[in-house]
């Protein structure tokens, strides 16, 4: 290497010398190919032109956090060798039905460009994009090396699109269909995999509802020897599950089907035996309609479990406790709040290595029913799980003191998402706002990257956030704040802020406009049901031409009000595919 360098420096070609940097392109490219993180790669590409070029030629994976921030043509031109693309489309609040239908984020234009410029594309991971069956078919025939499709929170397609993928993608290794707005027309798509097809490594259809042909599935599983992730849907019964497991003892991730069939003793034994030969499972999910008496059948497979997803399994606390005794290595746990505080205490007692906890509400809308988790369960987990750094907690009550205790026990939170489900609910013991709770979070958790706040909150919360949350990148706010000042504090105080989403807060034009320069360093801003007006948005759009300012109006609202505002930086200019309900200013 060094001799090469010396030879190079002594080269008589001075033009070459000035043009090139110290290393030949091939060397730089080789070195840069070791950089995986997009942040690193972005930094590298800014060093100098040569490095920019070397980086773009060696880039194989592109992550685009907002599909409208850049055009497919620009991406394809800059990165001719990409094999894998991750795209996120709609604003996150579209998950909660706050974004109009047909808003956009259609993948098709991207596929057309890539088919031309990057036909060797192998992997596509989409979140909150719209994708039609035609697009899926186009995808399946346009990219001969296509290997990996992952869809989360997408819509616009049906199981017919999956049929096309199964039929045409000869090199498919991953089909990962998570929670999506899919039109489930039946399970025949599974039968579209040719009998000769053996390459599958990841198959996830857990969130589809139709029956599939079990024999077809069994044959597929048995001939795909490299299958490591299998997540089936509710139509697969407890009786059928062992027949799949015996074909795939190498599985590392398993999503069971329904866990509630009536079993005879021989059937139970078969189930237990099948699980006992699955020594490699580190992720377990599914357990739909779980009958707790059958859980012991899977104890033997739980020894090495690091991620247990019970978010579809309505377990009671005691039942969870029994299960967790067998999961000492658990790092990530998702549960439903049917486990209640009692279940969370068991989490604390049995899972000292826990890093991530998500508690989902079974019945978020039903107020007559008293159940779920409280501040006590939160504290209990924090007491015994010092490594906890990611929490998503849906509850009906919380106290400032409890949150303060939790972060004192676990100061390393990177993601703190607390959802007190009744909007604007104060501390349930003192009646005070929850300002001090989130104050404690931002003061104590210096590594905090993501924060979701809830409960009764004044501007003080946002003063705290602006003052202390120096690593904060994503902030979600709802039904909070007292005045523009709150939002201003955040915009002025959080240097690393990238995504800000706000709904139903008393923030108006003054707040919106206080972030003028900030928005170009952010991915996006969402404000809905706030006090922003059309004039405020127009001003923003005028002053900041590199931002797209999109307004969505509600039916019957005042003409001057900007009901929903979505602001994002873009090098692609205003988009041309917005529906009539979306106005770009």
């Amino acid at each position: 290497m060094e001799s090469e360098l010396k030879r190079f420096r002594n080269s008589p070609n001075s033009e070459e010398l000035t043009r090139r940097s110290s290393f030949p392109d091939e060397v730089i490219e080789r070195v840069l190919s070791l950089f995986k993180s997009h942040k690193d790669r972005s930094a590298v590409s800014l060093v100098c032109k040569d490095w920019y070029n070397a980086e773009r030629w060696s880039r194989t994976h592109v992550f685009i956090g907002n599909c409208y921030s850049v055009s497919p043509e620009i991406v394809a031109r800059r990165f001719p060798n990409i094999r894998s693309v991750t795209l996120k489309g709609k604003p996150r609040f579209s998950d909660f039905n706050l974004v109009p239908l047909n808003w956009g984020a259609d993948i098709h234009a991207w596929l057309v460009v890539f088919a031309d410029e990057c036909p060797f594309l192998e992997e596509l991971r989409l979140k909150r994009m719209t994708i039609s069956d035609e697009s899926l078919e186009f995808l399946s025939v346009s990219f001969p090396n296509f290997k990996s499709l992952s869809l989360l929170s997408c819509d616009g397609f049906s199981t017919n699109g999956l049929s096309a993928i199964a039929t045409h993608c000869k090199n498919l290794i991953e089909l990962d269909i998570q929670e999506n707005g899919i039109d489930d027309r039946g399970g025949s798509w599974l039968s579209c995999f040719p009998e000769s097809f053996t390459l599958l490594e990841v198959l996830n259809f857990a969130n589809l509802t139709s029956d599939i042909n079990f024999d077809v599935l069994e044959r597929l599983v048995s001939r795909c020897k490299s299958l490591r992730v299998l997540k089936v849907n509710q139509s697969i019964s407890l009786e059928q599950l062992p027949r799949l497991l015996v074909h795939a003892p190498q599985l590392t991730e398993l999503g069971t089907g329904s866990f509630s069939q009536q079993l005879t003793f021989p059937q139970y034994e078969e189930l237990e035996s099948a699980f006992s030969s699955c020594n490699n499972i580190h992720t377990l999910s599914g357990l739909w309609d779980v009958k707790a008496i059958y859980l012991p059948a899977l104890y033997s497979a739980c020894t090495n479990l690091t991620f247990l997803n019970l978010s579809y399994a309505a377990l009671q606390g005691g039942e969870l406790a029994k299960l967790l005794r067998h999961c000492p290595r658990l790092q990530r746990l998702w549960v439903m709040d049917t486990v209640e505080d009692k279940g969370l205490e068991a989490v604390g007692l049995n899972c000292p290595l826990l890093e991530e906890l998500r508690v989902f509400p079974l019945d978020p809308y039903d107020e007559e029913i008293a159940h779920g988790v409280t501040e006590a369960g939160f504290i209990a987990v924090s007491c015994f799980c010092p490594r906890l750094h990611y929490v998503l907690y849906f509850c009906r009550q919380m106290t400032n003191a409890a949150v303060a205790t939790v972060v004192q026990n676990c100061p390393n939170f990177t993601h703190f998402r607390l959802c007190i489900m009744n909007p604007r609910q104060p501390d349930c013991t003192t009646g005070e706002p929850m300002d001090e709770a989130f104050g404690a979070v931002v003061k104590t958790c210096t590594k905090l990257q993501r924060l979701s706040v809830s409960g009764l909150l004044t501007d003080l919360t946002f003063e705290y956030i602006g003052k202390y949350a120096k690593n904060l990148e994503t902030l979600s706010v709802a039904f909070a704040g007292s005045s523009d000042w709150g939002m201003q504090c955040v915009l002025e105080g959080c240097p690393k802020l990238r995504k800000l989403e706000i709904r139903d807060c008393p923030f108006g034009n003054k707040a919106l406009l206080s972030g003028l320069e900030k928005y170009e360093s952010m991915r996006s801003l969402w404000m809905s049901a706030c006090n922003v007006t059309m004039n405020g948005c127009r001003l923003l759009a005028r002053v900041m031409p590199r931002l797209n300012v999109e307004v969505m109006k509600e039916d019957g609202s005042d003409d001057s009000q900007a009901d929903k505002v979505y602001v994002y930086r873009s090098v692609a200019g205003p988009r041309r595919d917005a529906p009539p309900s979306v106005q770009t200013l």
Binding site: D95, F96, L98, E179, N180, G181, N207, T209, D211, Q234, S235, S237, E239, S260, Q261, Q262, T264, F265, D289, I293, S311, A314, D341, K342, G348, L349, F360, D363, Y365, E367, E368, I369, A370, G372, T374, A376, A380, C383, F394, R396, Q397, A402, C419, M421, N422, P423, R424, P426, C428, T429, L456, S476, F479, S482, R503, D504, S528, A529, C530, S557
Partner: protein
């Protein structure tokens, strides 16, 4: 109004790990001190006749689920309280997501909007809710009924004449509401998680009568018989069927019960007159017990 409720067991004190008592008060203002009452739930087993009367004169025949109904001795249950936070919190007035927040700035004393009236709140992915609600494509497969012996699984498995999955007309996962007389706040129970009246009764007992204390790590396997089937108590378990009639739980085969039950109610025996022909006799017997 309800926003500030501390839930059952919300008091961290019982678990010993909370550094802050949630100020839960035990004053059960809406009902008398129940700790003095002997609580349990009466459930008739088998068809008609005699059934769950107060321990005396039970004429249980060898009905299929009669084997589930072992009799336990009575216990004292701690009072069931729906505990409210001191001072009840002033719940704010959330508004629909479509209204501008400016209209809702005054949140003292405003009547709160139900969570369900707010668009897109709580923030749970809509597609997730769809997955949870999705009706099962088919009923549980019928399994050969002959060979389901109780000791096989070392737990109680109930013999049922017909295995039929709970059709998901009740909402999430076969959950139905359960209300108990004298208790303001109801609960929900997942009928799909149970195979017979015994386990259901046990679960309800756990919900309404057991103190939500710290996990009992030494809790016994094969839990003791539920009081629900005792019949010697102040309460009976009833259900509302598809036609809107209130029936005594246990009168019909489990599968039939699953397909017709809409919700449950733990009713004071004294109010359960005329529910079913057999109940009248039971009540007569029960009136001999001190209240």
């Amino acid at each position: 109004m309800e926003g500030g409720l501390c839930l059952l067991g919300g008091g961290g004190g019982s678990s010993g790990v909370s550094t802050n008592e949630s100020g839960v008060s035990s004053e059960a203002t809406s009902y008398p001190a129940e700790s003095e009452l002997e609580l349990g739930l009466g459930l008739s087993l088998g068809g008609g006749g005699g059934g769950g009367g107060g321990g005396a004169g039970k004429t249980k025949t060898g009905t299929a689920w009669g084997e589930c109904g072992r009799i336990l001795t009575a216990q004292d249950f701690p009072s069931v309280v729906s505990q409210r936070a001191n001072g009840g919190s002033s719940s704010a007035a959330p508004v629909s997501g479509t209204k501008r927040a400016a209209d809702s700035v005054t949140h003292e004393g405003g009547s709160p909007t139900a969570v369900s009236q707010v668009v897109g709140w709580p923030p749970i992915r809509a597609y997730r809710m769809n997955s949870l609600k999705a009706p099962r494509a088919e009923e549980e497969k019928a399994v050969d009924e002959k060979d389901k012996s109780k000791e096989a699984l070392k737990k109680k498995i109930c013999n049922v004449n017909k295995t039929s999955g709970a059709v998901n007309e009740k909402g999430h996962l076969g959950f139905v509401k359960v209300n108990m007389d004298g208790v303001t706040i109801g609960r929900k129970v997942d009928l799909n998680a149970h195979a017979c009246y015994e386990t259901l009764a046990q679960a309800l007992e756990d919900m309404f009568f057991r103190p939500p204390s710290a996990v009992n790590l030494t809790e016994k396997e094969g839990a003791k018989q539920s009081k629900l089937l005792n019949g010697s108590s102040e309460f009976v378990l009833t259900y509302e069927d598809k036609e809107g009639d209130w029936m005594l739980v246990g009168d019909v085969p489990w599968g039939m019960f699953l397909s017709s039950v809409r919700r449950l109610r733990i009713m004071r025996t004294s109010e359960a007159n005329g529910l079913a022909p057999g109940l009248h006799d039971r009540n007569n017997r029960q009136r001999n017990k001190p209240i």
